[in-house]
Symmetry: D4
Subunit: 220 residues, 8 copies
């Protein structure tokens, strides 16, 4: 196979076009591919986010490039200084503690863009009082990212109670019928609550970028 394109076609232009740090999907990449991407972006003076990197792979990468920072719960590598004083703040809700890695991926991706996320964990609908007690607090955030596995009712209940943009993230927690986040995902799409937005199962990064698009637009 001759290679018509000696250089990797990394999308060095994404930052200018979309205002987003380049993000690399790390799950199907080798250590070498991640290092190559990091070197390219470092050379271009650009930051980088690598998602879905398991701990051992992250260690192997960081042995070569120690300036990359690993976020273990989020399973992300970041390169370049993260903005220190956030220009905006939103809330990430989770149904249970199994949803935390997805919430952390969203939070890390937002932090790369100067957006702070406050975590409101374990407010699933099986114990509804936990959510009801926080409604006034939640009303203050411009955007709500809501992560839930199992049957995934939480975003529906939230979007029926509060008027902000709600980004629903199905989480691959569960088993049997609807395993792998399938029940949560089709439930969120079929939701009776008006105006719920859905991203793919476990897609914390996607939820963060959707929130970023909204916050940027609101900023004008």
């Amino acid at each position: 196979m001759t290679d018509g394109d000696r250089n990797l076609n990394l999308d060095l232009d994404r930052r200018r076009r979309l205002g987003m740090v380049e993000a690399v999907w790390g799950a199907d990449k080798t250590v070498e591919q991640i290092l190559a991407a990091a070197h390219r972006f470092a050379a271009a003076g650009q930051p980088l986010l690598v998602t879905r990197v398991e701990e051992t792979k992250a260690g192997a990468v960081r042995q070569q490039l120690p300036e990359l920072c690993y976020h273990p719960q989020a399973r992300c590598l970041t390169m370049g200084p993260l903005p220190t004083s956030p220009w905006r703040r939103l809330a990430i809700l989770t149904g249970g503690s199994s949803d935390l890695p997805v919430a952390a991926e969203a939070s890390t991706a937002l932090a790369c863009h100067g957006v702070a996320a406050e975590l409101i964990a374990d407010v699933g609908v099986a114990g509804l009082h936990r959510l009801m007690a926080r409604l006034d607090h939640l009303a203050r955030f411009p955007v709500l990212i809501v992560c839930a596995g199992m049957e995934g009712s939480l975003p529906t209940v939230v979007a029926g109670l509060l008027p902000q943009p709600v980004i629903a993230v199905p989480v691959s927690v569960g088993y049997g019928m609807g395993a792998g986040g399938h029940a949560a995902c089709v439930g969120m799409l079929a939701s009776c609550a008006p105006g719920l937005c859905v991203v793919n199962i476990d897609n914390g990064y996607g939820a963060a970028m959707a929130a970023l698009r909204i916050l940027r637009m609101a900023k004008g």
Copy 2:
């Protein structure tokens, strides 16, 4: 095809064995088949319930056998006097008015067995206050049948708030991903609420018989 069994093998023994009125699934039966079943049970002095009978088919049946009674919302035919003074009372909740035919099928099937059902309609989770305002009232019923389409969150929320047996009935209302009640059904099975029982999509009759088994057992 020689017919080794001249007579239809109707389960004339079900009533003795299970304490249930024989129920015939009417959707795939011809008018002639429904009439034949009715004559057999009438001859045996037994009542009969026929479910899923559309209005025109019901009319054709009743032209031959006017003593059958048609319940249009429930799409059921009943034969024989229904018990007049119910020995027990339960509640049937629905998320929206599209769930009413399924609730009515359950209610009619219960009425055949002397159980009264109180309908608590339109308490879907998109407007949660409607449910919260009725919690004390709901707490008085020994069994709750909860019908919901779309994402089907209602039984999960109910079973997280109340300790009674909750029978969840997914309803084939909705469209797109999860159409035909699929999202509701897998969501109810995958529910994070402990001890939710599920019957098939639109199976109001099945929910009623499950409730009857429970009420009979409690009666001792």
Copy 3:
């Protein structure tokens, strides 16, 4: 079935809570149910939107309540005066002319809330030049709703080129593998473009309400 709730439990509070006109899913409702809802909201002095109403059903409703207005392409009934001078404007893109009914449902739902929608039709990716020629024009809108059937690539291409919030609406156009909008929906969820939001297949109303949440939040 005794009815514990004489009155329909319509969510008369939704407008206050979410700032949204009450919307009734008309597909599974009878003419009588739609009329009952309309009378209740009229009595409460509130506007109403009924979606998925076929032409003949709409005619039967309007014979009783001529003040309802029918929007044939959107298959919607509206009650109450629509806001005349929009406070905000967004764009709705479609891949082909088969997507127009879904776009029209979104547009009508937005119009009920004082948001104007400009239609950019027939810019599907099979003839990419049609989209590329309009990029500068599209860049001016705060939110983009993108409707597409078949393989549903259009929102992915748009979200890769432009930084605004993009709400992807899969449309049930197509056949064979991926029929009923399935290919478009899973493709939009699996999209490689960062931050795409997805609503259910054909859910023009949901896309409109998601856009409304975003625009309201931006307004502050």
Copy 4:
């Protein structure tokens, strides 16, 4: 990610509300998360049930907190003394010996609530005489939990023969078409036996809680 909720939002109120011991889904939790939950409930003087804990994870937990008890077949950890004299007794049937872990999970969950379970194993329909010989014995139990994999016919046959509440648990035993318990689950939902209740695949805990709701209600 700032954490708006320093403390885990464990549902310490569930016991009062539903009369159920708090149960934690252990499969997606780390050893640390399980320990944290155990400490919280110990501090509140409440018992705890952790389901789906593999042997090695259980060992790591018990090294820190030896007062937790591990039930290897049920793959459950329990904390706090189990009620010693059961107030009620039910039967758990299995089609084959592969269903035993699911039956054991149900049994352990019931034991936490003072309900004893008698196991009637290996009575699958491929050798029907094994079930028929036990009908009189089975008739004495107030509730029957029936676990079956493969095609999952056993609950249907049982519910056609006996009048008690029957809770059907599909088990993820099988392969090929209908693998993962899918055939058993859809078969139980589609069952021709009247009033069968279904819980999710392998959900022994859910079946136990459904039985508990029924037994509690019957107790009055």
Copy 5:
């Protein structure tokens, strides 16, 4: 489109090769196509079976070719004299009366080949005594064709009790999860009974031909 093959490529050789009457799948054929096939086989002096012909289409065909005989329950047309004295006899069992059209298609296809079928109807597992009472009678037949819809348990129970070849035919009776015969079909494939053979949903013709292959082979 030029037609390289002026004549329809009917398989006039099938009878010699497989010993089977040619069978035409009528559902997707026009009246003209059925007539053309009939004329070709009549010219070749061969009998013909046309399956899945609705009553009105059959009428239109018979107006042109009255020597074709219509079997309304089986929805089949046959051409040519059926063998009058059967050389073999088997049994066709059905779970309920909704399975009768499929049983009749099998019976008609067998009759074309000189095999008589005795119908044992309504022996579904929800009332197991009906089957148990006929075991001795069933033991006399060389082959059992067993048709069942819903959860489709009947062939599993039969094959666990009797040693003959059992051909399981899932029937498209049912609704919700497992609708269209899906639950019955995957259940029969996943059956715990040893040596069950399965044909496609509603494929009475296929079951008949499978039985014919077995009976012919046994004849030597």
Copy 6:
């Protein structure tokens, strides 16, 4: 909805870019939409192909625009003179006569581009001798389009015997498991024959355009 694009965005450039006549998917279009497209292309002096037009809709279109020609078996409308002397010839094979409408759609689409198609019908694998007898004839064509429903084995057998490009078209003939062409489509994708190309179910037009791309390329 304001319309930012007064004119329909028809892809008038496709012919220059891809060398293909513009094709309109007629199934989801109204008579008015088809007429509007036809007028636009007529004004541009371009031919047009409209696929999936049922007979009555075609009649309504032709009443307004009689110069459109209707091809009933192919369910297509064509506008503009078809090339009279074909520059190339290929073969279209079908498994059975139910596949003919799909073969005719392919043939009509090819005819619009000056390619002649010879139909080799009814050579399905259930009677393999019909195919084997034509192998020498088939070897002469540069491209083979092979249409098959049911289990869809024909393209696999053909591609194992002959070295030309083989375009497999699954056809929505069949029922039960694999209905709607699903079995044929996944079977063709999973084929053990090397180098089979697959298009969507019933996509005769797509197969024709794939063949056109190949023939054009070969022409140089």
Copy 7:
């Protein structure tokens, strides 16, 4: 969990009822469970077949009970002397060498019952000449078991050419669409060849028992 049935309910009666050696599904059993079953059948003087036993598990079993014999390709354990002179002989065909383990499971199960199987390997349809060259040889066998993965065309082609009973076994070889034997299984069910019988994916044991039922019946 109290154990109402001290003894495992092994089906010691199966041999008398169905004439089949008891077979235990080994995949979900522990070494202890397999040993317990073996001891029970040894005590009853009955042979035993254990299927789906991986090499290491088989070794652990044989360390305790060396009289069990392991068949590595078939992944089966057998106990008790196998019949030495077969009373009947059939043929097992495979499409490719990946199908051999399934063929070997069928062969081992038949050997336990005194039936010899001749293996005709690698006759898949991608190289059809290999099958055509063996037709006369195949015509001599009373029953044909045909194993195939990928698109699974082989049984269809065989059943179109030969008149014997054909038992089709889909094999879980393949990938992508139709992976896990799904394409083969739905293709065999949807087959256009008349009278094909299908068993579950990889179910070599089931195919053997179906063949045994046929051969026994033919024996009279």
Copy 8:
């Protein structure tokens, strides 16, 4: 199991019939089976391609037969000298670097037949400018193989812009809804671009053989 065919039925005739090097699917083969095949083809003086061979299995094979060459990215073994001067050149496009193994499998398979492939990597639609900048270069290739995972839009966009044969290869990159290449595959089949050909998920070999058939035919 007696083996009626002492020798493996390798398709030694494929090269003459189809002009293709024999390819063995290595994933389900043991080291011994691969060695046996290699010896057979070596004895026949024919080259061989073995696909889907993981590194360790390849090492074990090469320890016995060092003349086999391993291509690690493509996970292929080749035997026999590859043609040195290619007679034709085509392009393989990938959406991202995760698609490279599939592209490499295609490239290796083509190299075995004297066709050179130029790799155009990382031109996915999320950064469309990368593709647009290469259109003139792409226009020079006779055939385009386009590999893409996630939502798989790239082949649709390419086939809408360029007139050559386009072979779309869905790649099993992605997660959640549409995982395993499902979204890409159904999207490519449902594509709105005219004349796209699809092969199975990850089937680089199949795409190569489809391209070879086209190039051979064009050669005449």
